[in-house]
């Protein structure tokens, strides 16, 4: 009798726990069909086909945010660097490479709950295409750090994990250009404060 009860309990634990955990895992990491991946960057553009995907709908409902429409732009986020290590505010990162085609791009840092990081003094934790210095080949090199840096510096304040958000305003990506035709910058860790 007790044995049967334990077996029933095992079945229920696997069913409920496994079912909930698998939904959570899929929504956290994104599904191959609805997400765009480019190195460390991931985006969930609001195309008409994506809006029929139940995984996309569940993810969108859970975030509860009003995202950009395809005619406005596409938002990419990165939680890890190019080597797959989680981004943290105690490390210095270099974002290097050519930005994807867009009329305007912006880059800013958010905390784990999706809020903009606090300002460092008067400086916003963000940069955009009109404030950065470009190299002759159109590439950019942006240092993301809590310490002042020469060149393009994205200042970090506080401690804990963070995510980087790359917003492409008015991009051909939203109107069907293939991801493979676009270049994305790499995020490499320079060093860390222990």
């Amino acid at each position: 009798m007790l044995k049967n009860a334990l077996l029933a309990l095992l079945t229920l634990v696997i069913a409920i726990g496994g079912g909930a955990a698998s939904v959570w895992a899929v929504l956290e990491n994104g599904t191959p069909k609805s997400a765009l991946h480019a190195g460390p960057w991931t985006a969930f553009p609001h195309t008409a086909t994506a809006q029929k995907n139940p995984y996309f709908l569940a993810r969108f409902a859970r975030e509860g945010a009003i995202t950009l429409g395809p005619g406005e732009g596409v938002v990419f986020t990165a939680s890890n660097d190019t080597n797959g290590r989680p981004l943290t505010r105690s490390c210095t990162y270099e974002i290097a490479g050519v930005m994807p085609a867009a009329r305007i791009w912006t880059l800013h840092a958010i905390d784990e709950r999706g809020r903009l990081l606090p300002r460092l003094g008067r400086r916003l934790p963000g940069l955009h295409s009109r404030t950065v210095l470009y190299q002759p080949d159109d590439a950019v090199s942006i240092i993301v750090s809590a310490h002042p840096m020469p060149g393009n510096w994205l200042p970090l304040a506080g401690t804990g994990p963070m995510r980087l958000v790359l917003t492409l305003l008015d991009t051909p990506l939203a109107t069907g250009q293939l991801m493979s035709e676009l270049t994305f910058p790499e995020i490499s860790r320079v060093d860390c404060n222990a």
Binding site: G18, G19, P54, I66, G126, V165, L169
Partner: protein, 180 residues
């Protein structure tokens, strides 16, 4: 031992069912949280969307946004803003679930000012009979959803643009438009 294996197999099938049920119920339950917050509709002044709301798009410090709710059952919605030198502005229309129905930016319109008339299919039919003079210059946007929100966004490169952005949003109006 066989019984444990049997129970585990049953559990895995159950996990699949639970996975599908949670997935399909999520939008229905979260919809409440996202859309019942402030339902005092029918205001002509668009509500500013705060940057602190969270989410990758709305946390952007360089984008200011304002939204108005609409209900097209009685009248169309006229969204209008003064001409501006802001380098980028856009408008997006979302249905009651928050799904994007329509979006464009200032380069994809052929006129420099934001002037849209949101209509439902029956109002489109009325417009085909004759466009009222007041809306002769407007862009017509037909939405399948009767209720939803229209969001206007503007790119504010730095604080020197704040004044321009403020006057753009101060002049932004969402007015019910009667077509007859």
């Amino acid at each position: 031992m066989r019984k444990v294996l049997y129970a585990s197999a049953l559990g895995i099938i159950g996990a699949g069912i639970v996975h599908i049920v949670i997935l399909l119920l999520l939008p229905a339950y979260s919809e409440q949280a996202a859309w019942t917050g402030d339902s005092s509709a029918a205001s002509n002044i668009p509500l500013p969307l705060e940057n602190s709301e969270g989410g990758a798009a709305s946390s952007n410090p360089f984008i200011k946004a304002a939204a108005c709710r609409f209900d097209l059952a009685d009248s169309a919605l006229h969204v209008q803003a003064p001409e501006t030198a802001i380098p980028f502005w856009s408008m997006a229309v979302y249905d009651g679930k928050g799904l994007n129905q329509f979006s464009l930016n200032n380069r994809t319109t052929n006129r420099a000012t934001l002037d849209f008339l949101l209509v439902n299919p029956s109002q489109t039919q009325r417009l085909k009979a004759g466009i009222p003079a007041a809306f002769a210059q407007s862009h017509f946007v037909e939405t399948k959803s009767e209720e939803g929100i229209a969001v206007v966004r503007a790119f504010v490169p730095d604080t020197t643009w704040s004044g321009l952005a403020d006057s753009f949003f101060a002049g932004l109006r969402c007015e019910p438009a009667h077509l007859d």
